[in-house]
Amino acid sequence: MTLERNVLLAFLAAAALLPALVTDQYLLHLGVMALFYAILATSLNLVVGYVGEFSLGHTAFLGAGAYTAALLSTQLGLPMWATIPLAGLISALFGFGIGAITLRLQGPYFVIVTLSFAEVLRIVANNWIAVTNGPMGLAGIDQFGITNKGTFFYIVLGLTAVALYLAFRFVHSNTGRAAVAVRENRYVAQSIGVDPFGTAMQAFVLGAFLAGLAGGFYAHYISFVGPEVFRFPFMVTMIIMVLLGGKGTLIGPIAGAVIVTLLEEYLREMQELRLTLFGLIVMAVVLFLPNGLMGFIAQRREQQGAKPAPRAATKERTV
């Protein structure tokens, strides 16, 4: 726990130095994207790693946040310090509504229903032209004259810090432990007084809130929001980050986000082979690090005689 906290603090501190050390705007842009994805991955991890259910609909919250910020900015002219938190809050509301239905379900049903919500929202965004401008999207979202990537970098770094703080507090609280209990064994959790639904809801809404913040930032940074924010490719990227880094840890998703963002960019060198190789790398990672980077590190530590790491639990049946 303290080790985890120190690693996270060190990460934030190192990141804070980046704009001072690098002036290359392209690298800063990659830094911004990596942090943006780090928030998203952290938020998805709250659901996948701590509720223990696999959500394929997390783009619902990214999108809700992005559209909220875009609309507030283009329609009402609100400034960024207002639109981004509001984006988080509106997303949290969406999280509450969607969670109320989906969290009753488990396993594959949860997976597909969350996906369905994201798709429904995408289709609505694509067709409700009066509000969302449909497939034409919302362009020209205010950037308040920020032309230096460094400024955007500090904004997204601040958001990352907020996200990590909230996630850290949640995960290491009594409620966070309850969420783990639900994930590990629903029956035990219930019998010690944990309300599986309510606990999962807290993690789910927190995840939605963080994804909404990320979405709000995205709207201003890219300055364009269209229905594709709800689309599956974003989801795939998030999943790869969380699982590659290692779910159920706070460091894993951050590491995953940074690695995947950089990997995707540096594979540009490979031209046409880019995504083919990317697919192969993803497969190789699963085959050689089935529990992600953090799982691998924990395993190494175990072999070196440190505290034994939990092994992959085989599926349990309760009779």
């Binding site: 842009h29 994207m33 449909g134 497939p135 034409m136 020209g140 890219i222």
Partner: protein, 356 residues
């Protein structure tokens, strides 16, 4: 630096990769020809192509990389209007001229972005050019409109239905479908019930070929016309006999009979063993326009290139391109083709006027 770099962002993967690849082919041909003729400013042109997947975020990533890492002098792309809308502010921020050969959403040139140029038709321009010919030649009285549910499809349907209605052709049905839809029988059942004598379709090869085929499979014999890259061998092959007799309004067809076009088609066919279509020509033109502007500018300074772009007078296979001060191209020819015996036959040709 011993080359002049031009950056290109197109969808090379994902569901519009098919069209993106044609744009890239056209562009590569243009660069090859120019380099064979000695390049510009005494240097070779180097085309740096990145995959933007037609999504805003990926296209922005690609542009950041092209500008910061490759230090390109100018940008060409991105295919989909949404992706182009997202990279326009980036181009403006870095003060790099951006030329699109494809993105057709009308509002793009209305944003007052001084670095943006559109070397392509808009739906409004196409409609204005052909509505009259269509209404008169096909004797349309009741028209049904079907468009792919994106900015381009919606734009096409709106513009054509406005102009055709003004000419007295009643609009009896308007429907949109999502890109990637494969079965149109339900839509066509409604269409059959509406009894139109003409069906307007705004769809690209992939959706359009299936749609046109199914119009015939439903036993409908209404006249089919529309916009999209239909004047291509791929489209005609995929559509089969159902393609016979349909009309397409396109900014380019390989069967246009200008001599400049014949040389273009010849070299394109020699290189790719297929005749160029709308998107191949778009890539070719966009690249030539950009490179010629750099040549005229005399250096790679952005302001000089921008100024040179405004003075464009590019002799394309399909007419002459000029730009308005908003950066909208005009002056080039657009054609109406009819598919006959598996070949696109030009039946009308008209230069595209500048919008007011």
């Amino acid at each position: 630096q011993d080359t002049i770099k031009i950056g290109m962002v197109e969808p090379l993967t994902g569901s519009v990769a098919y069209n993106g690849k044609s744009v890239v082919e056209g562009a590569k041909l243009a660069v090859e020809e120019m380099n064979a003729a000695g390049g510009i400013l005494g240097k070779k042109i180097e085309l740096v192509i990145e995959d933007g997947q037609c999504t805003p975020a990926n296209s922005v990533n690609a542009v950041e990389k092209l500008v910061q890492k490759d230090k390109v002098a100018a940008l060409v792309g991105a295919f989909c209007s949404s992706a182009t809308a997202a990279i326009m502010p980036v181009a403006q921020k870095y003060k790099i001229p951006l030329v699109t050969g494809v993105s057709s959403q009308a509002s793009l040139t209305e944003q007052g972005n001084p670095y943006f140029f559109r070397a392509a038709e808009t739906d409004a321009l196409m409609a204005k050019a052909f509505a009259k010919i269509l209404a008169n030649d096909l004797k349309l009285t009741k028209v049904a409109y079907i468009g792919v549910n994106d900015d381009w499809g919606r734009g096409g349907v709106e513009e054509f239905s406005r102009d055709l209605s003004a000419l007295g052709a009643k609009s009896v049905l308007t429907e949109y479908f999502d890109h990637g839809t494969t079965d149109f029988f339900t839509l066509l059942t409604k269409l059959r019930a509406a009894k139109p004598d003409g069906v307007f379709v705004a769809a690209e090869t992939q959706d359009g070929s299936i749609l046109v085929k199914q119009i015939r499979e439903m036993g409908l014999d209404a006249k089919v016309f529309g916009v999209g890259s239909w004047a291509t061998a791929d489209f005609i092959n995929l559509t089969g006999s159902a393609a016979e007799g349909i009309h397409a309004a396109v900014p380019y067809a390989s069967s246009m009979d200008a001599p400049r076009n014949q040389t273009f088609v010849k070299s394109y066919e020699a290189k790719y063993r297929i005749k160029p279509g709308k998107y191949g020509a778009a890539g070719y033109n966009a690249l030539n326009i950009t490179a010629q502007a750099i040549a005229r500018a005399g250096n790679t300074d952005a302001e000089a290139i921008r100024a040179a772009l405004y003075k464009t007078q590019y002799e394309a296979p399909n007419g002459v391109y000029r730009f308005t001060e908003k950066g909208q191209a005009y002056g080039f020819d657009a054609v109406l083709v009819r598919i006959e015996g598996g070949q696109p036959k030009v039946i009308a040709s008209t230069p595209v006027d500048a919008p007011h």
